[in-house]
C-alpha cells in the first residue's frame, strides 16, 4: 500500500522553503565523495541537477538516450522563461507569480510547491546569466522582458526564439565542467529500461547501451529521473520524436505512484497536419495570438479563398465567445474552441482540421515591417512547411498535444513513493496542476535541478546511508531479467507483419478522440475496451527487424510504443474517474449551459495518485489539496 505524505513543512507560506532547508540534515563533504547518485536525463532538469550534484562533491553517473546531452527535448522550447523579477516595475511579485500559476493550474496543485517555485524563479535568471546565457537585453544593457501567455505583467525572459536551447546550453556547459572535473560520468546513447528496488528503496537502474545493445545494471545510493513528458502517447505532438513514458512508466510498475496522468495540455497554435505521412506537429509560438485574429467562415460550405470572404461573413469565434480576453484566452480554452469549431464541420484546410490565424489587420494598422520584425522567423518557418505566405493569406492552425502536467507523484522534497527515487522536471506531476502557463516549464525544470533537488536529496542521503547494492544483487538480476524478457518478446518473429508506428498511430487516434481536449464517460469506457485489444494485436503482429544485440532504432521505438499502449489505459482511468472539468481536463458532462467547464471542489480537490497492481486495475490514492492561503475561484475568461 502506498502512503502519500506530501511532507510540506509547517508555517507561513513564505517560510516553508527556508524551514525545510534549515531542518534538513546535511551530508559532510567527506561523505559526499563516497556517495553515488544516478541521474537519468539531461534536459533542463537533469543537466542542472547532475552538474549541481557534481559540484557539491557527489559522484554522479548521468544517462541519456541522445547522442549528446545537449540534444534533450528542452532544446526546442522557444518562448521564454518566467521569473518574478519585476524589472519592468509593472506590479509583479513572487505572490503574483504564485497566484497566476496556481490559478492557471485551476487549483489542482499544491500551494507550498508553487510558492517555492515562484520564490526561486528570480535566482534562476541570475544563475543562467552567470553561466553565460545570452538573454535578450535592452539598449541600456539591462535584461529585456516580454509578456507571454496572456498574463498582465512582463515577466518572461527570452533568447530570441531559442530560449530552450540557450538555457540548456548553459546547463550543459555546467555539466561539461563537472565531467571534466571527473565528478560526473556521462553515458550518452543509453536507455533506462527499469528501476532496481531493493528493501523498498530505489537502488539503481537497468540500461541498454543503444550502440551495442548490451544490458547492464547500475547501482547507487539514490536515483533521479529527469526523463521529460509523454505527449507522444498521442502519436502526433509538438514533442521531439524520442520523448516517451518508458522511464516513469516502468518506475510506476515498481511502486512509484503516478499522479494525474490524464492532465495533458493541448496547445492551440500548431501547424495543422498535412496528411497521413505526418510525423510531428510544429508549434507556432503563442505570441502570434497577441496580433493575429482567429476566424472561420460563418458558413461551413463557404469554399472561397480567405481573402475573398468579407468581414461580415467571418466568425471571429474567440472574440465572440470571450469578449474580454478575445484571442488571448488561455491555451486550454483556445484549443477547445478551435476543436469545437472544427467538429461542427467549420474548419478550413485539408480535412477541415484548421482555423485561420489572420494578420491582415495588424499589417494594415502597423505595417508589414513591424510584423516582419516581430514574427519574421515564424512566418518563414510556416512558409517552409506549408508552402504558403502568411503575409498574404492567413495562417492555418490546429491544436496539438504539447505538455503533460501529469507525472510521477512526488512529495515536497521531490521524492516519489519509492524512497530514494526522485523525480524532477516535466517527469513529475508537481506545480502545474491541471494546466500549465506558458514559460513556466523551463522555470520548473531549472528550479528543481539547480535549487531544490540538490538540497532535498541530501536529507535523504544523510538519513538513509546504505552502500549501493552489488550489481549482481538478486534485485538487480531480477530487473535485468524483466528487461531481457520484454526485449526478446519484441524481436521474435511474428505471423502478420505490422510496424510499431502503425500501432502508435492507431493508439494516438483513440486518445485524441476520447482522452484529448474533451472527454466523456462513454468515450473513455470505449477507449478502455479497445486499447487492450490493440495491445494484444501489437504483441501478436508487430515486426521488429534486426537483433537486440546491436544498434537498432526500431527496437527502441517499439519498446516505447509498447509502454504507451499500457500507459494509455492509466490515462483513461484517471480521466474517467475525475467527474469534473478542470484546466485542460474537460469532461463534456460537466459544463455550464454556455459550455464553460464546471470544477467540483467538493469532490475533486485532490491529486489522483495511482498505484500499479499486477493483473488488476490501478488503485486510486488521494492527496487532498488544502488551500490555506488562496481561495479557489472560478476561472472565467468571458
Amino acid at each position: 500500500m502506498i502512503a502519500l505524505d506530501p511532507q510540506v513543512p509547517p508555517g507561513p507560506l513564505e517560510m516553508k522553503w527556508d524551514r525545510r532547508r534549515f531542518s534538513g540534515q546535511l551530508v559532510s563533504p567527506a561523505n559526499k565523495r563516497r556517495i553515488k547518485i544516478i541521474v537519468v536525463g539531461t534536459g533542463l532538469a537533469g543537466a542542472s541537477a547532475a552538474s549541481t550534484l557534481g559540484q557539491l562533491g557527489y559522484q554522479v553517473e548521468c544517462f541519456c538516450f541522445h547522442d549528446s546531452p545537449r540534444r534533450a527535448h528542452s532544446i526546442a522550447a522557444q518562448g521564454g522563461i518566467n521569473a518574478a523579477k519585476n524589472y519592468q516595475d509593472d506590479g509583479d511579485s513572487v505572490a503574483r507569480l504564485f497566484y497566476d500559476t496556481i490559478k492557471g493550474g485551476d487549483f489542482r496543485s499544491r500551494e507550498a510547491n508553487v510558492y517555492r517555485l515562484a520564490q526561486i524563479s528570480t535566482q534562476i535568471i541570475d544563475q543562467c546569466v552567470a553561466l553565460g546565457v545570452p538573454f535578450a537585453r535592452e539598449y541600456g544593457g539591462q535584461l529585456a522582458n516580454r509578456s507571454f501567455g496572456g498574463v498582465q505583467v512582463s515577466r518572461t525572459f527570452y533568447c530570441r526564439g531559442q530560449t530552450g536551447q540557450q538555457l540548456l546550453l548553459g546547463a550543459y556547459s555546467a555539466l561539461c565542467w563537472q565531467i571534466e572535473r571527473g565528478q560526473v560520468t556521462m553515458r550518452p546513447r543509453t536507455e533506462m529500461l527499469d528501476v532496481i528496488v531493493a528493501d523498498g528503496h530505489a537502488r539503481g537502474i537497468v540500461i541498454r547501451d543503444l550502440v551495442t545493445g548490451r544490458l547492464s545494471a547500475h547501482t547507487a545510493h539514490a536515483v533521479v529521473l529527469a526523463t521529460g513528458g509523454y505527449s507522444n502517447v498521442y502519436y502526433l505532438s509538438t514533442n521531439a520524436s524520442g520523448c516517451n513514458v518508458t522511464a516513469t512508466y516502468r518506475a510506476w510498475k515498481q511502486g512509484a505512484a503516478f499522479a494525474n496522468p490524464s492532465f495533458t495540455q493541448i496547445h492551440p497554435t500548431a501547424i495543422p497536419p498535412a496528411g497521413a505521412h505526418q510525423a510531428k506537429l510544429t508549434l507556432m509560438s503563442e505570441s502570434l495570438r497577441n496580433d493575429g485574429r482567429l476566424w472561420v467562415p460563418v458558413s461551413p460550405s463557404d469554399r472561397r479563398s480567405p481573402n475573398e470572404i468579407p468581414p461580415s461573413e467571418r466568425d471571429y469565434f474567440l472574440e465572440r465567445r470571450y469578449p474580454r480576453f478575445g484571442n488571448l484566452v488561455p491555451r486550454d480554452v483556445a484549443s477547445r474552441a478551435v476543436k469545437s469549431i472544427c467538429d461542427e464541420g467549420r474548419g478550413v484546410g485539408p480535412g477541415g482540421q484548421g482555423v485561420y490565424l489572420d494578420f491582415s489587420d495588424v499589417i494594415r494598422q502597423q505595417g508589414i515591417d513591424v510584423v516582419r520584425e516581430r514574427y519574421g522567423n515564424l512566418f518563414e518557418m510556416y512558409q517552409r512547411i506549408t508552402g504558403e505566405n502568411a503575409y498574404e493569406v492567413p495562417m492555418r492552425i490546429y491544436p496539438a498535444p504539447h505538455y503533460t502536467m501529469g507525472g510521477l507523484w512526488v512529495d515536497y522534497n521531490l521524492m516519489s513513493t519509492i524512497p530514494g527515487l526522485f523525480v524532477i522536471g516535466e517527469a513529475n506531476f508537481a506545480d502545474h496542476g491541471a494546466n500549465r502557463l506558458g514559460a513556466s516549464s523551463l522555470m520548473q525544470g531549472l528550479a528543481d535541478g539547480y535549487f531544490i533537488l540538490p538540497y532535498t536529496i541530501g536529507h535523504y542521503l544523510a538519513m538513509v546511508n546504505r552502500p549501493p547494492i552489488a550489481e549482481d544483487h538478486s534485485a538487480a538480476r531480477a530487473a535485468l531479467e524483466r528487461v531481457e524478457a520484454r526485449l526478446r518478446k519484441l524481436v521474435q518473429a511474428k505471423g502478420r507483419q505490422r510496424t510499431a508506428a502503425s500501432f502508435h498511430r492507431a493508439l494516438g487516434k483513440i486518445l485524441w478522440d476520447h482522452c484529448g481536449m474533451s472527454r466523456c464517460a462513454a468515450g473513455l469506457r470505449g477507449a478502455l475496451e479497445v486499447i487492450p485489444v490493440l495491445r494484444e494485436e501489437f504483441w501478436r503482429d508487430v515486426v521488429v527487424p534486426g537483433s537486440g544485440e546491436a544498434f537498432n532504432q526500431e527496437l527502441e521505438y517499439a519498446g516505447r510504443v509498447a509502454d504507451f499502449l499500457e500507459f494509455a489505459e492509466l490515462m483513461c482511468h484517471d480521466a474517467l474517474h475525475r467527474e469534473e472539468s478542470c484546466g485542460a481536463h474537460f469532461r463534456e458532462e460537466y459544463q455550464t449551459e454556455e459550455g464553460e467547464p464546471q470544477r467540483d471542489d467538493e469532490r475533486f480537490a485532490y491529486v489522483a495518485a495511482w498505484e500499479y497492481r499486477d493483473g488488476d486495475t490501478p488503485a486510486l490514492h488521494k492527496e487532498p489539496l488544502n488551500f490555506e492561503f488562496v481561495q479557489p475561484t472560478t476561472r472565467s475568461y468571458q
Partner: protein
Amino acid sequence: MKFTLRIWRQRGPNERGGFVTYPVDDVSPDMSFLEMLDGLNQRLIVAGEEPVAFEHDCREGICGSCSLVIDGVPHGPERGVTTCQLYMRRFANGATITIEPWRAKAFPIIRDLVVDRRALDRIMQAGGYISVNTGGAVDGNTLLIGKEEAETAMDAASCIGCGACVAACKNASAMLFVAAKVSHLAMLPQGKPERTRRVMAMVRAMEREGFGSCGNQYECEAVCPKHVSVRFIAMLNREYLRASIMGTRIPARSDAPHGESY
C-alpha cells in the same frame, strides 16, 4: 512525386559500406525529407528488411540530431536549414537523390547514416563553460551587457552542434563550431575571466580529436543551418593569438603560492 534514392548502408563501424538504390513513389511535396525516409523505412520493415538508420529528434531544426549529406551537401540544397526542415517540394520530380552520412575521421560511422559526434562534446568538456557554482550568483542586471554585444554573443550561441561544418570541410575541420563556442563566451563579460585558458584548451582538444585545420574555404558557413558566420573564426584566431601571448606571462613572485600557472 517519384524519386530514386541512393543511400549509404553500412552495418557497423568496421564493416564495409556501400550505396543501395531504393525507388520511392507516392511522395507528397508537403512531406519533409525525413518523412519521406520514414515512409521508405515502413516499407522495408514490413518486407522484413532492416530500416535505414538515421538520426533525428526535434524535427524542427534546433536539436542538431539530423545529419545527412544530400547530393554531396550537408543538410541538402537549401541554405540555412537542417535536414529535418527540408521539404520534398524542393526537389524535381523523378530526381535521383544521393544520401550519405557526415564523413570525417573524428566522426566514426555507427551504422548507415548515423555517426558518433562525441568529439564535439569532448571539446566542450575541455573548456566550453564558465566555472561558476550554483547559488550565490549576483542579480542578472548588475552586469550590464550592451544590446550589440548580447546580440553578437547570441549569433554565435545559435550553433546547434550538428557538425555540418565539419562534414562540409575538405579538411574536416571543426573551426566554425569551436569559433562559435569560444566567441559566444568571449563576447560576454561573464566569460572574460577564463578566456585565455578556454581557447587554448578547446583548440588543443580539437586537434587531439583529429579534426583538420582550417583552409579558409568557407564551405562551413555555406552549409551552417544557423548562419554562423566565418567572422567568428577570425575572432577565434584573435582570441587564440591573445591567449598565446598571455600564456607566456611570467608569474610574478607575489603569485605564489596561490598563483595559477598557464
